[in-house]
């Protein structure tokens, strides 16, 4: 058995071993399940988690862009704040500090799929935005 194997419990670091206060430095953007379409609008929640998959209860600034022709805003009575670009296809949002979430409402008059992607922007922390969300509009 080589020494590398003998000391592997100390040398190999896994995500599960991260201390919570360390893991909380890193935010991951997760999308919930989109709601049903109503009056050309679909609601979907963005939730931050840390690398341990725990909800990350922080205020984080994220730029959201979506397919041209659709617009985005905060859902009625939803959590979070729109900082700029309200009702457009390019907005900067702030998650709710108490929940780490943002309740998004996307409006699109036509039929088709609208894709929403997040990204880091001015004032962002260490945030991973590798997951997007597709919203299917029937164009009723």
């Amino acid at each position: 058995m080589p020494i590398q194997d003998a000391v592997s419990p100390v040398q190999k670091v896994t995500t599960d071993e991260l201390a919570k206060e360390f893991a909380d430095n890193f935010g991951i953007v997760n999308w919930g399940t989109p709601g049903a379409e109503a009056v050309d609008a679909i609601a979907v929640a963005l939730q931050l988690t840390n690398p341990l998959d725990d909800d990350l209860l922080v205020k984080e600034r994220i730029r959201l862009t979506c397919t041209t022709g659709a617009t985005m805003k905060l859902a009625p009575a939803g959590a979070g704040t729109v900082l700029s670009g309200d009702d457009s296809d390019d907005i900067i949002i702030e998650t709710d500090e108490a929940t780490g979430s943002f309740d998004l409402e996307v409006t699109y008059a036509g039929a088709g799929t609208v894709t929403v992607v997040g990204g880091a922007t001015q004032g962002s922390g260490f945030v991973h935005c590798g997951q997007s969300v597709d919203l299917t509009f029937a164009g009723e």
């Binding site: 058995m1 080589p2 020494i3 003998a6 000391v7 419990p9 100390v10 670091v13 071993e17 991260l18 201390a19 206060e21 360390f22 430095n25 205020k59 984080e60 600034r61 880091a120 922007t121 001015q122 004032g123 962002s124 922390g125 260490f126």
Partner: protein, 187 residues
């Protein structure tokens, strides 16, 4: 120096090589280096590394990873933007510095690229430390810290307002934490 804690995981008393001591089953000892004899005992299944001591002397149980356990090279990959206190130069001009920090509040001595934006009623230029890459003299600046990780900004505003400033990532930026901004008061 990183101390390691070893435990006798065998069912017999172990004569610790080169240490002039024995360890009963389950007993532990600290060592400040992994000698060839200790390595042999580990490989033989008699001893196991169960803990380590951080450089600061605080005991850290194995399996809990904190920023203090990261090497400097790894720590410096996570760059936190830290703002100093604004200094008044004259009624319409103030100076404020950015220092890049790591996750344990140590300075990162490296040149990195940032985007700095502020209220469009103000404008920014780069001062003594750092370089402007684009937008010098505007409210949307791309700049690089100097090799000490410092960027000096000179903010000019002729309105009686509080100018909010934000940093963010752009092309060529490292992983950045820019959650903290800076307010410069011209009121």
């Amino acid at each position: 120096m990183m101390l390691i804690k070893l435990q006798n995981i065998s069912s017999t008393t172990v004569d610790v090589p080169g240490k002039g001591m024995v360890l009963k089953p389950g007993a532990t000892m600290w060592a400040n280096d992994l000698t060839a004899d200790l390595q042999t005992a580990i490989e033989g299944g008699f001893l196991e590394i169960i803990d380590q001591m951080s450089p600061g002397g605080e005991e850290l149980p194995d399996g809990v990873v904190t920023p203090q356990k990261l090497s400097t090279a790894l720590l410096d990959r996570y760059v936190v933007v830290d703002w100093g206190d604004p200094e008044v130069v004259n009624p319409t001009t103030q100076r404020v510095s950015i220092q890049l920090k790591n996750l344990i509040n140590g300075d990162i001595a490296a040149a990195h690229t940032l985007r700095i934006t502020c209220d469009d009623q103000a404008n920014m230029t780069v001062g003594e430390h750092g370089d402007a890459l684009s937008g010098d003299g505007t409210s949307d600046l791309i700049a690089r810290t100097d090799s000490s990780g410092q960027l000096d900004l000179v903010v000019t505003c002729d309105q009686a307002i509080i100018v909010s400033m934000a940093a963010g990532p752009t092309q060529m930026s490292p992983m950045l934490d820019c959650r903290i901004g800076c307010d410069v008061s011209f009121t």
